[in-house]
């Protein structure tokens, strides 16, 4: 109790709260710009925390982290471009909802879902950190590979108007992930002697090219509409704070399920939020009585995606606090920040620095409140984006995408890749391929390959995938998922046609 109070006393000082508020704003703004990720925002914050107390520094970084997971929804809803990889699934319903004249409701739903997702994940974190961390560390490459096989079956929910083109897009994504040096031995593959392909196709460049560039150029398809100076989104700019809060709370099952999915995926070292939002969306769609409404502006879709990605923030801290293993790039930076202050992160962290750990829990909750306050106060300002005419926003966002692509690795060759990937993205979009499975393939490809090869390096017996119980459970879940998808495709052979305004989901 004394440690808890000590942690609380360090967080609830005016200076820390002001720093956290600034961090929250920075996270939201950074993630709202396509091409800038939560990770980049945290990396830029890290040097600023060196002069702070350890807990103060961590609290500021957690504010950026929590704010960043919410900020991604702004461009997802208003522009149809995921602001961060973790808001890909948010575009599926938030964007159509905004285009149908409810941009305020779309944003508000996302903000509240993010808030509750973070709070739920923090509660789980407090109670389940030690046992969950021990469970996560017992998973071997067999279990990880089977988990990824299960995650790949999500493609069935994301295929859009054609199952076959959805499947092809997923396979193209996996193929893209094989370009560059292989993840185990570092052997060059498919670079055809071209220098810029030797490092592979960076995931963020693929995301920006496939989603952002193709979405932006498709905004100018109708020349007459652009030249008339039309706004991006028309409709009421009303955030409907309390009404939407009730609407989100009226979906407790979805909220809880998506948050738990987020926590579990966050707890597993790997891709974190970028997978969690898609899995949570997929689960919500499968559990819904009206799966056909998903992709057309369904509130459940936004709630699932945003609660899922925000809950990974708490989930990711589970292995970090429990075992000293960072679950994602962001957690690694948090860990680095603690180490800079001379605090060794490992299983003894909670014993030696209990006040710090409790302070982190409190900081998570405070950060989510900060995010909520900043969002409620600033969303009106963000919603003004919808009043900007297309002729202005298209070139400006393109420039932001270019800066984001360059700042990722400070490589000019990434800019050349962006041209090719952008043109490919628009071509696939024009040919009515769904783009979400492609992105999923790019994320999951390297994880699947690494674990498959690692498993067979450890033991050449392939039956271990079936004889290890947790691996078997994941494989059965994958099989059930495929059978379920085939059954629902046979039941509803006619999918709703994608409107020209909808993002390629």
């Amino acid at each position: 109790m004394a440690d808890f109070l000590s942690g609380a006393a360090q967080i609830f000082t005016l200076v820390t709260l002001i720093y956290m508020l600034a961090g929250s704003v920075a996270g939201i703004v950074a993630a709202a710009i396509p091409g800038f990720t939560v990770t980049m925002a945290i990396v830029l914050t890290l040097p600023l925390t060196f002069t702070m107390d350890p807990l103060q520094g961590i609290a500021v970084m957690l504010s950026v982290y929590v704010g960043g997971y919410t900020g991604g929804l702004i461009s997802a809803a208003l522009l149809g471009i995921p602001g961060t990889p973790s808001s890909v699934a948010t575009t599926f319903d938030a964007f159509p909802m905004a285009r149908n004249g409810e941009p305020g409701r779309a944003l508000s739903l996302g903000v509240w879902a993010s808030f509750f997702g973070t709070v739920i994940s923090t509660i789980v974190l407090i109670f389940a950190a030690p046992p969950l961390a021990l469970f996560a560390v017992r998973l071997g490459p067999w279990e990880y590979f089977s988990l990824i096989v299960f995650a790949l079956t999500i493609v069935a929910s994301l295929v859009g108007s054609s199952a076959i083109r959805g499947l092809l897009a997923g396979l193209i994504g996996l193929a893209i992930s094989t370009v560059g040096t292989d993840p185990i031995m570092g052997r060059p593959r498919f670079d055809f002697g071209i220098e810029m392909l030797q490092a592979g196709l960076p995931f963020l460049v693929v995301l920006i090219g496939i989603f952002a560039i193709s979405q932006l150029v498709s905004e100018v398809e109708d020349a007459r509409n652009v030249r008339s100076g039309n706004k991006l989104v028309t409709g009421a700019i009303d955030f409907q704070t309390w009404k939407v809060m009730k609407e989100v709370l009226m979906r407790p099952v979805n909220l809880l399920r998506s948050s738990i999915v987020g926590v579990l995926i966050g707890a597993l070292p790997g891709a974190g939020g970028s997978i969690a939002n898609l899995v949570a969306y997929d689960q919500a769609k499968r559990a819904s009585k009206h799966p056909e409404r998903f992709g057309t502006g369904e509130a459940d879709g936004i709630v699932a995606s945003e609660a899922g990605n925000s809950a990974t923030a708490g989930g990711g801290l589970i292995p970090l606090i429990g075992l000293g293993i960072p679950g994602s790039a962001v957690d690694a930076i948090l860990m680095a920040s603690l180490m800079v202050h001379g605090i060794s992160v490992g299983p003894r962290l909670i014993l030696d620095n209990a006040d710090l750990v409790y302070g982190m829990f409190i900081a998570m909750v405070v950060a989510s409140f900060m995010m909520l306050i900043v969002s409620v106060l600033s969303m009106r300002l963000f919603l003004r984006v919808t009043e900007v005419p297309k002729w202005l926003i298209v070139p400006v966002v393109m420039t932001c995408c270019v800066v984001g692509t360059f700042a990722l690795n400070n490589r000019v060759t990434d800019l050349y890749l962006l041209i090719f990937i952008g043109i490919t993205g628009y071509t696939l979009r024009a040919l009515d391929y769904s783009l979400a499975p492609l992105v999923l393939g790019v994320i999951l490809g390297p994880i699947a390959e690494t674990n498959l090869r690692r498993a067979l390096m450890t033991d050449e017996d392939p039956t271990l995938f079936l004889t290890r119980p947790i691996s078997l459970i994941f494989l059965i879940a994958a099989l059930v998922s495929i059978v379920w998808a085939i059954r629902s495709h046979l039941k509803n052979p006619k999918k709703i046609e994608r409107s020209s305004d909808a993002p390629s989901s």
């Binding site: 396979l171 593959r189 100018v220 393109m398 800066v403 024009a430 390096m457």
Partner: protein, 171 residues
């Protein structure tokens, strides 16, 4: 069938042919890359080499593309192939601004290493806005301010605040 629905049917058929072409490209590419993956030497330290996973992916891609080709060929009436060229040209004409945007972006990205981020962005932002906008004195003035803010302004922000230096160019 009235004229509007006939045009719609023709457009859909042209779309199907374009998709068929994409399946053929994917099939050929996956076969080519499968062969290329076979040339990656196996490893002494592991059962699967660097080429094994790509081979699995390319086999999957080839099989699904082949199914897609068979499915598409069944759907497309023979008469549609004759109209494909003119339909594609008409489609591209309707979307000429898309090609202008992609062309401008390509030129911009190629110019950045030479002109530097600030100058290239200034030209790209102002030029593309002027191409897309309904031209009035007010909108041109707004475009000029925006172009300055997001070229020199963004460059200054990144250099001074984040210490990330955007390309300076060679001239």
């Amino acid at each position: 069938m009235n004229d509007a629905s006939l045009v719609e049917t023709h457009n859909q058929e042209a779309g199907e042919i374009a998709r068929l072409l994409s399946y053929v490209v994917l099939l050929l590419a996956s076969i080519g890359l499968f062969v290329s993956a076979g040339a990656i030497p196996p490893s002494r330290f592991e059962k699967l080499g660097a080429g094994a996973f790509p081979k699995i992916v390319f086999v999957g891609l080839a099989v699904v593309s082949a199914i897609a080709i068979i499915d598409a060929v069944r759907k497309i009436p023979r008469s549609a192939y004759g109209r494909f060229r003119s339909q594609t040209v008409a489609w591209a004409r309707r979307r000429y601004l898309v090609f202008v945007c992609l062309g401008a972006l390509t030129a911009y990205l190629l110019a950045i290493p030479v002109l530097g981020f600030s100058i290239a962005s200034l030209i790209f932002l102002f030029g593309l806005q002027v191409i897309l906008m309904p031209r009035t004195a007010k909108s041109i003035a707004i475009a000029a301010v925006i172009a300055l803010a997001f070229s020199y302004g963004l460059n200054w922000l990144f250099a001074e605040v984040f210490t990330v230096f955007l390309p300076r160019g060679v001239i």
